[in-house]
Symmetry: C2
Subunit: 238 residues, 2 copies
């Protein structure tokens, strides 16, 4: 994988140029402010591919910040239906800021390193640190915005539009944080994409093939997609 180098590059930058919020390297923010206290409330952890970091029904005790790798968070409906809430990247937060149960499951995609904050301790720390409180507020507002956009996708877009928007979004995100955005490397499986977009794996595969046939993308491998025509893709995505 190329992620070690990319993560290093990533860490050089610490703000999303567009929204000025994400990826704010939270750790760094704290380090700049009060390194000592910070190290008291967080610790490093590693997870291997496909291991659960936590489950939906678990007691919510921690907040995590990704240092390396990718994480998917998903809701379990019942018998096995899954809705993926999001694919997360270095700099992203997940977990729960509130007491009670987690609202989703979190699972490592590939090897992952995270920074773990004990919710309770973090909360105490937030009380004493306004910069941190506001940063968390900004972060959470931003996530809320993304979640609202996804309601539009899941509620109103057709399969073609969903996939196109998915690719455009990932590409823009990569560009923003300074990663290679063409060809696009997709860390997740087709099944994951399907569960993210509210489609089946077959439909996702067919839509990818349609993009290939119409020369909008070139499929270098299942997980490496070269975008020939951003404009066309963008038009498809609504």
């Amino acid at each position: 994988m190329q992620s070690a180098q990319l993560n290093k590059e990533f860490n050089e930058k610490n703000r999303c140029s567009e929204c000025n919020i994400r990826p704010y390297s939270f750790c760094r923010c704290l380090q700049e402010e009060k390194l000592k206290e910070f190290s008291n409330i967080s610790s490093d952890k590693k997870f291997q591919d496909k291991t659960n970091i936590f489950l939906q029904q678990d007691d919510a005790k921690n907040i995590y910040n990704i240092t390396e790798g990718n994480v998917k968070i998903y809701q379990l409906i019942d018998d096995g239906r899954i809705q993926i809430i999001g694919f997360l990247y270095p700099g992203d937060f997940f977990g729960s800021y509130k007491n009670g149960k987690y609202n989703y499951c979190a699972e490592a995609i590939g090897d992952v390193r995270v920074c773990v904050f004990e919710q309770k301790k973090l909360d105490e720390y937030v009380d004493k640190n306004m910069v941190l409180a506001k940063e968390l507020l900004n972060q959470t507002s931003h996530e809320l915005t993304l979640a609202q956009d996804r309601m539009g996708v899941l509620g109103k877009l057709d399969a073609t539009e969903r996939l196109a928007k998915f690719l455009i979004n990932i590409s823009e995100q990569r560009k923003r944080i300074g990663w290679q955005n063409n060809p696009l490397s997709l860390p997740m499986t087709r099944q994951d994409i399907a569960d993210y977009l509210g489609l089946t794996i077959e439909t996702v595969s067919r839509e990818v093939s349609k993009l290939k046939t119409s020369n909008v993308v070139k499929v270098l491998s299942a997980k490496q997609i070269y975008i020939n025509d951003f404009d066309k893709l963008s038009n498809l995505s609504k």
Copy 2:
């Protein structure tokens, strides 16, 4: 309408007993703390049925808190496709905490009274008031949780499950804030419900009829639904 009396009752309570967050009467919270400063940064406004409070492309300048009535917030996809993000009740917030454009449109359902906060001034105020900062953080986290639940609904539930869950959710919410929860009065139209659930108006109507036929609910009028069997409805909702 019965809402005047109900709103009054509502205002007696100021916290959701379940999550301990919502409906936190933000105004009251501020009033208790620092009434003078509060009145500097907010004002009262009224809107009539079907008037837009703001549009998606508008510059985001305000945050609103509902004092009386209902508001729907929705995303415009393009040509006219609409995805309703949520139906809001007294005590709920909407608008944007961030600069830039609003991420959705807001429209009054029936007559509405709101408390308007200028974002910029509120932000300055937040800087000086940790209680408020944390309250906003809690509020936003809670909204994020709801948004994530809705991804599961829109991505994975079928029409029957969506409607059942919708009715159960509304009923529970009413119960929580001490409003009558059976019969259930629905302030929104069938079209609104359809746009909220990612279905068509015809499908919503058919699903209501199915619930009627199977004796799960009694349809007193289009906007008054009596739930005969909570357990059955709950089972349908997954």
